[in-house]
């Protein structure tokens, strides 16, 4: 049972009460049932920990973890907290370790989290020390369940989480595999921003094709996206994961690898960019989509738009805010042209993104709206065929995937 006093009226998902985005008890319950429950969380890319001992620290939910290559074939994800007195051990963002040693009392852990050394465990010259029945094997660093799938590291706080392939399901596997096909990845760089908005708004936003050409004026203005172009918003069977794929408004299949797929779709000659290299793209993935996203609930969106391949990692920070960590990546075989192209396309995303700023600013405006809402106020989610149905759709005038998300949400949260 939940500790949440408020009740969500009715059983539908065409109205989302504002308190779902602002209530502290709801947030605490989300951490428990979602973030630390039977869900896979994005923990990084294999390419970020190339050698034995390479590590990065990151945050899953609100808990900090160390992601480390503990043997050549094994990635460990360990809670970044000494089992002795609770010290957060690793303070750096990344590096290379032989072992994990707490600075306070030098308790030493192997790279897989096993407690190896407790200084003066036997006392000093026979005096003091831990009791004889102290068992180091009971005090290893907390180990998360880990799966590495096509170069992406997934971790879960729960042992009951099903295998990742089952978790993402058949319907969305194709959109996942399209972006991370198993080719060796290369990090292009990171960006980080704090967005003063509830974490769920980011998930909704990427499953909201309705806003695409209406909010992001840059996209139709410079021919990158039109409301009438072929698109598909698809959910998995539970409704929690979603993918949005969109083809440019021209004859698909005409582009071959390396060809510029944006040159034919500018809407107005007077609205040409002064330097088209800002958005000029070449085909590199399967299919002709210029936009392909795979949102794996609750923590991450993998997305391709033109040649910007990106991971958007969500870190909740209370009901009223979250951090968004961007990892842009490419492939090891990228030539200098492609490297530079990815850097240019990075202009559309991140904290100064010519497209993304619209989202992070509008979501902050939404959160400000929620905070002063009257009792019983709610957002309405009624766009889409039938107005109330929840199903995969092949057009953009729909909020069906948001309804699907909240169908799952009400169930997992028992709300």
């Amino acid at each position: 049972m939940n500790n949440i006093a408020k009740r969500w009226p009715g059983t539908g998902v065409t109205e989302i009460p504002y308190w779902v985005y602002t209530d502290k008890d709801v947030y605490e319950s989300e951490l428990d049932r979602i973030w630390y429950g039977d869900h896979w969380l994005y923990a990084g890319l294999e390419a970020e920990v190339p050698q034995v001992g390479s590590y990065r620290t990151t945050t899953l939910g609100e808990r900090q973890v160390i992601v480390v290559r503990s043997t050549q074939d094994q990635i460990s994800v360990l809670e970044n907290r000494c089992r002795h007195r609770g010290v957060q051990i690793c303070q750096a963002r990344s590096g290379k370790l032989d072992g994990i040693t707490c600075p306070y009392h030098q308790w030493s852990y192997a790279l897989d989290g096993t407690l190896q050394g407790v200084p003066f465990r036997r006392g000093i010259k026979g005096k003091g020390g831990m009791s004889r029945d102290f068992s180091p094997s009971d005090y290893g660093l907390l180990r998360l369940k880990v799966e590495v799938v096509n170069g992406v590291i997934w971790a879960s706080f729960s042992d009951r989480t099903p295998p990742f392939r089952e978790y993402i399901g058949d319907r969305l596997w194709g959109s996942y595999e399209r972006i991370v096909s198993g080719r060796r990845l290369r990090v292009v760089g990171y960006n980080r921003q704090f967005i003063p908005a509830n974490w769920k708004l980011l998930i909704e936003n990427i499953r909201d094709p309705y806003h695409g050409a209406l909010l992001h004026v840059f996209l139709p203005t410079f021919g990158l996206f039109r409301p009438d172009q072929a698109s598909e918003m698809r959910m998995d069977e539970t409704g929690r994961h979603g993918s949005l794929m969109s083809l440019p408004a021209k004859d698909p299949g005409a582009a071959s690898h390396g060809e510029d797929i944006t040159r034919d779709i500018a809407v107005d000659a007077s609205l040409q960019l002064a330097d088209k290299r800002l958005i000029e793209a070449v085909k590199e993935l399967k299919g002709d989509e210029t936009l392909g996203s795979c949102c794996v609930f609750p923590s991450v969106i993998l997305l391709q738009q033109i040649n910007a391949l990106q991971v958007r990692h969500i870190i909740p920070k209370g009901p009223d805010g979250c951090e968004l960590m961007w990892t842009h990546f490419g492939f090891e075989e990228d030539d200098e042209d492609m490297r530079q192209r990815r850097v240019r396309h990075g202009n559309l995303f991140g904290p100064a993104g010519l497209v993304s700023v619209d989202d992070s600013e509008v979501l902050a405006m939404a959160q400000r709206g929620f905070k002063t809402a009257e009792e019983g106020g709610a957002a309405i989610v009624q766009m889409g065929t039938g107005g109330r149905e929840t199903r995969n759709e092949g057009h953009m005038a729909t909020e069906s995937a948001i309804r699907g998300l909240y169908q799952y949400y009400r169930e997992v949260m028992d709300l």
């Binding site: 072992g99 030098q106 030493s108 190896q116 050394g117 407790v118 200084p119 000093i124 026979g126």
Partner: protein, 120 residues
């Protein structure tokens, strides 16, 4: 540092009274002396992992456990017997003459390297 002559390191009695484990500095070289079932051994008194004093550790049978991280060495051979240690421990020849235990600083291998000897 002297050459191959034998140097007195401890008496058999004081070693026994110390529970079979003593630390001594001979010509600036930190050494640990062990007695196990009437046999005597000497190693460098510095763990190869994080340089703690093995003479402050725990001796069980032929295994010396480092007090800092519980790494293990066999005092007979200097071999690593437990993590997190990976490098073997240098050993020295020792013999008993009457009550005296004598160590040879001309070791079984080459001369101890400078970084192994921390002057106390």
């Amino acid at each position: 540092m002297t050459d191959s002559e034998w140097i007195r390191i401890a008496s058999a009695t004081e070693l026994r009274e110390a529970g079979g484990l003593l630390g001594r500095s001979i010509c600036g070289v930190p050494l640990a002396v062990y007695e196990v079932s009437g046999a005597y051994f000497v190693t460098l008194d510095r763990c190869t992992h994080a340089r703690a004093r093995l003479s402050e550790g725990y001796l069980e049978g032929f295994l010396i456990e480092c007090p800092l991280h519980q790494g293990l060495f066999d005092v007979r051979t200097g071999e690593v017997k437990g993590p997190p240690c990976t490098k073997p421990l240098r050993t020295f020849a020792v013999r008993r003459e009457g009550e005296d235990l004598l160590v040879s600083l001309k070791p079984l291998q080459e001369a101890p390297k400078k970084d192994e000897i921390a002057h106390e």
